[in-house]
Subunit: 713 residues, 2 copies
């Protein structure tokens, strides 16, 4: 893997000696729990306990201070009251230890006094060049080293191939217990706590380098530096799958926004765009997180979306077919040879079409032989085997017979077990053999869908983030236009005048219909003759945002008289609607009266930076919500993805009497706007609405545009 591993983090993952500061002999104290878990974990390095009271604990001496601890020691686990932590850290630094886990709570999570303590800890750590995990965390477990610095009640997780990194400490105990109960092991568990130093992104990179870890799961409550996370995760996911459960979905505060893009671009849209860019699979529940993790850890990737279903009953086969199709997978069409082979192997009443129904009396031998036949069909990319409590054989017997054949396969095979107690033996066999088993076909189908998604991503993800690069943008020209405006207008956060927006778009090669400002009715008529009829008139005012509602827009004026009267009407409407507004005149614009309407917008997300939106334009953007988001800058493939995932984009291929639209032109506009938003973070919102996409070869035009400077420019 080409990710550089930060050497200062090594002591967290491979310490030579660990000191538990605050180790306690009282079994009800967390300081006892940490000492017990570490001592029982089988950790092969040195283990030291520190407590001013001294004495012995778990057959080891307790040193009164960290200064007394002998070598080797390069990691401290601190579990003392919050007010003593900073001082303890200083002693840790003086002892020459450069890595500490602060398990103690009582910091930011308790209010301003705790937050101050936390800042003091960070200051001391910086002074002594100590890397910190926590505070307010459970600690970490590494089952292969092995190593356990947590105070969680035993038993800990069994060794396995799934890493779990978590912002929530509370979920850790539940996940360990759940994983044991579900029969799969963990490689690492890292509780990140308040993350004053080491963050999810740091540990993601470090854990990805661990050869025991096949899949990384994340429980996230937010991300501090979204762009760094995306860069790192994108590199990690080229090699190992990452699944994230992001909570706090509905609790994100609403910002004040003044565009459709701003209104639609919540934190969730940005997270989805970030996960897509990074190749991170998003789970919605803890169950999905681990249902999917075990499939990704234990199965080869499928070559495509065609699934064969093998069952001994019709009903569950239909359920499986439903679930597969609802996840975008398909029932494989079996080859005639496959059906003939099944026909020969099964009783005459069996159904040899997919889903293959062997009937209730199916034997273990028939399960095995049918699975072999299905796996031999090159059109079958993966198989779901459904196993209700069979009336004839025990489910356990069928499981035992199937397992070697599943191992031998280079295609994923997942098991849907129906029932609970009568299938328990089969469950145990499959778990021990690392064959993913699920209760009922729906969960098995979702696991196959994730395997297929991962396989597609691996096939598609060959290139760099932004390919091909845009070479003909002129950021200097845009910078000059923006600076000139800001010099003249001062610092009030504001919508940019149309001329400035137009300059920005021109500098980035985004076509707009020709437009000019008229200050008198005669000037307007002259301009209309120059630009060409029909024209639109729009009030030129930095203070009137919703021009249509203010009576500030007239469309489709086909002759000079209409322009002359329109000029007067707009000025009078504007005065009536917004008496205090500054009105600079009226824009005259050549109208593009045909082509498909879409919207392209961009906002700056507080966590992930510039995000581009594409979708159905017009005034009903927010009602229809036919939009999709992408982190900017946007690659050619990502822009095409925005088109594919919206009706507005799919329609561009041609619809009813609409000819195919100029896809290349709109893809260019999406990418150019993304580049503009990335180059100018001070533009908090930019929106082209509508963009009219003309028929193939005729281009696309941003018919209206607005842009706004953020408060933080």
């Amino acid at each position: 893997m080409s990710l550089p591993i930060d050497p200062t983090l090594r002591p967290f993952f491979d310490p030579t000696g660990i000191a538990v500061i605050g180790a306690s002999t009282a079994p009800t104290k967390l300081g006892f729990g940490v000492a017990r878990n570490l001592a029982q974990s089988g950790y092969p390095g040195a283990i030291h306990f520190v407590n001013p009271r001294g004495g012995r604990l778990l057959e080891r001496p307790i040193y009164p201070t960290i200064a007394d601890v002998p070598d080797p020691v390069d990691l401290a686990v601190i579990i003392v009251p919050a007010p003593q932590v900073a001082e303890t850290l200083a002693a840790v630094g003086r002892r020459g230890i450069r890595a500490a886990i602060i398990a103690s709570g009582g910091f930011r999570e308790t209010g301003p006094a705790g937050a101050a303590l936390e800042q003091e800890c960070l200051r001391v750590a910086r002074e002594h060049a100590i890397r910190l995990i926590g505070p307010n965390c459970v600690g970490l477990i590494n089952t292969h080293r092995p190593l356990d610095t947590t105070f969680l009640p035993p038993p800990g997780p069994t060794p396995g191939d799934v890493a779990f990194l978590s912002h929530s400490g509370a979920i850790c105990a539940a996940v360990i217990d759940w994983a044991r109960g579900q029969g799969f092991g963990l490689s690492h568990l890292i509780s990140l706590g308040n993350q004053i130093d080491v963050r999810e992104t740091d540990t993601l990179a470090a854990v990805a380098a661990d050869p025991h870890t096949k899949v990384i799961t994340l429980y996230l409550e937010g991300i501090d530096d979204g762009r760094r996370f995306v860069r790192t995760a994108r590199e990690v996911t080229r090699h190992k799958p990452v699944i994230a459960l992001k909570v706090g979905r509905y609790s994100s505060g609403r910002r004040a926004v003044a565009s459709h893009t701003g209104a639609l671009a919540g934190a969730e849209s940005a997270f989805n765009a970030a996960f897509r860019r990074a190749g991170v699979i998003r789970a919605n529940t803890v169950e999905e997180l681990f249902d999917w993790a075990k499939a990704l850890a234990w199965c080869p990737l499928p070559a495509g979306p065609e699934v064969a279903v093998l069952t001994n009953a019709g009903g569950p086969g239909v359920t499986a077919a439903d679930a597969l199709e609802s996840h975008g997978l398909r029932l494989a069409a079996l080859r005639p040879e496959t059906e003939a082979a099944l026909r020969a192997a099964l009783p005459p009443d069996a159904s040899v079409r997919n889903p293959v129904d062997m009937l209730a009396a199916a034997t273990a031998g028939q399960y095995v032989e049918s699975l072999r036949i299905l796996l031999d069909d090159p059109g079958v990319h993966s198989v779901m085997v459904i196993l209700p409590p069979p009336p004839m054989e025990s489910a356990g017997g069928v499981a035992r017979a199937l397992i070697p054949n599943i191992f031998a396969a280079n295609k994923p095979v997942v098991i849907a077990l129906m029932g609970e107690r009568m299938i328990q033996e089969a469950v145990e066999y499959f778990r021990a053999a690392h064959v993913p088993e699920y209760r009922f076909p729906e969960r098995a189908a979702s696991a196959l869908a994730v395997l297929t998604e991962r396989a597609e991503r691996m096939r598609a993800d060959a290139g760099d983030i932004v390919r091909p690069p845009l070479t003909d943008t002129r950021p200097d020209e845009a910078r000059a236009a923006l600076d000139a405006y800001r010099a003249a207008a001062g610092d009030a956060a504001d919508f940019l005048p149309y001329e400035v927006v137009d300059s920005l778009l021109a500098a980035y090669g985004i076509p707009t219909p020709r437009v000019a400002l008229a200050t008198t009715a005669d000037e307007a008529v002259d301009l209309a003759w120059q630009l060409g009829f029909p024209v639109a008139l729009k009030v030129a005012s930095p203070d009137i945002v919703h021009k249509t509602e203010a009576g500030g827009v007239l469309l489709n004026l086909v002759e000079p008289d209409a322009v002359e009267q329109g000029f007067a009407a707009i000025l009078s409407n504007a005065r009536a609607a917004a008496p205090a507004a500054r009105v600079d005149g009226v824009y005259v614009q050549r109208m593009i009266t045909f082509g498909q309407e879409v919207i392209v917008g961009a906002v700056q997300d507080p966590q992930f930076g510039p995000v581009v939106m594409f979708g159905s334009g017009g005034v009903e953007v927010e009602g229809l919500r036919d939009v999709e988001f992408c982190l900017a800058p946007v690659s050619e493939g990502e822009a095409a993805g925005l088109l594919a995932s919206t009706w507005a984009g799919r329609r561009l291929a041609g619809f009813r009497n609409l000819p195919p639209a100029d896809r290349a032109a709109i893809l260019g506009i999406i990418r150019r706007l993304g580049q503009l938003a990335a180059d100018f973070p001070e533009l908090s919102e930019i929106e082209l609405n509508p963009v009219r996409v003309l028929p193939e070869g005729q281009g696309a035009y941003a018919v209206d545009a607005r842009a706004r400077l953020g408060d933080d420019r």
Copy 2:
């Protein structure tokens, strides 16, 4: 309950004596399984075994024929090879038995020969007035009678309050085992098999009358008589909740359709509309089916959607909040008194705002006291208690302390247990006490959502199906117009000419813009003057369905010359596009050029009859899919529901510069079209697209309409 119970079904539910025909002494035979289960079920009535071989079985004699069986006997369970079943049925009839369960397979499910055997069975049953369950079914279980006629391997279900009716036999064994494993009992289990006589609707009504049954769950593969099902289920759901899992979602064949409505109205839309009308809750997985069933069986209904979450950790509280909001529930805003009481009961660092976080060290006493305080808040309608493996107390201890308080509450309380083995003791306590517990907060949230949905339905469901009735439709007039056309046009399945459609709409009080047929250009100009400019011209041809694509439509003609030239252009376009089409002339129509565009359509669903669609109109209906469906006829409330569940409908309340539209007018059109579709099942598709809804008080007009006669008229 006001449902009449069919007395001929009584022997299935309360037999006085049962004969097992095909009872076998060989333990591998299904005929042994049936005998064993019945004998061991504790059935208190008479049990008789029949087999020509005679002998004894399970301490009872085996009679050679059914004729030999002594009284009492009023139910036969037949488990003999398929070819002998009809003959056996005849003997059953001659013995005076009027109810039989055919467990044998080998009928329709195996092909045409089996289907013929099935028909013969039905014929014999009718001749002898025998009611039949099956064939190809597992049989039935009634845990309270008790009674078990199945051959499924023991143990059977524990007695409980959830009934399970299934089209799939295979799922039955899995469900019994799953239910045992999940710790809840069943009242009835009925496997319906091929349903040649008794169907899901019959058993639904019968089971609903059982006092032991609190919730009815259905596993459906299809419904024969959709309207009868809806009528019955609607009556049942007034008293007891019904949850259905409908499989075969994606397997329904596509019919040939010629309208947007037809294209969008798949079987799934009709099922959803039917379940909504009937008050049946639709589950997507077996897990949901029973997750929800236990909440409905064991909890009181909440008075509203405001939920309090009680947890001892922040992360799971956030997850719960996410899950609740994604299900349309809300975090209750706690009263100041509530927060003060919590503040007094909990440590200072605890969070007393909802979600209430008691912190990791929360005791059983704090769980109990906090729950009591939350339940006392009148703004809290239900509570989710989250229980990770607590570091201090055992989860089992917390469970034991909570249970009496949950029992005493008149609000629903559901438990989210996090983990697996460490919470097992708590799981057992909650199950034994009939307190719904779920793994992780997401599933608990979905259960609360279903309780809330059920409560809302119970509050809303006061009136009759169609209220108020439409009193001013003129079906006779519509019938006359349709008959006249059919007499003239013959029997070819066809689109109706515009005049006929217009007559139908007029007879049902659906307003259309005034229109007339012109056969010459001069006539067109005269008509335009009469109707008022602007006008639209449309080709009049029964053979040209997509008029716009054929160049057969001109809009917005504002003066006579344009009408004259337009007439010629349309005829020439039509000739070019469809040389073979019959062209009757050109319609001249006054244009309604303003108002919001919507679509209202209706199709005849093969299972549920007339179904109405409402949503976003225009040409992009299918791309946008902003549509919703309702069974026809449509009540005032249901029509309002169609508006509420689509963007097209919500927009009618006013949007940006659009004034509020005439809701009453569009509600009227939806209801009138529904009545038309219900009164004329021979109209396979009717579509008003667009309907223009003018501002309040100004009406709504079907600007274009098409209707088609079905093949089955």
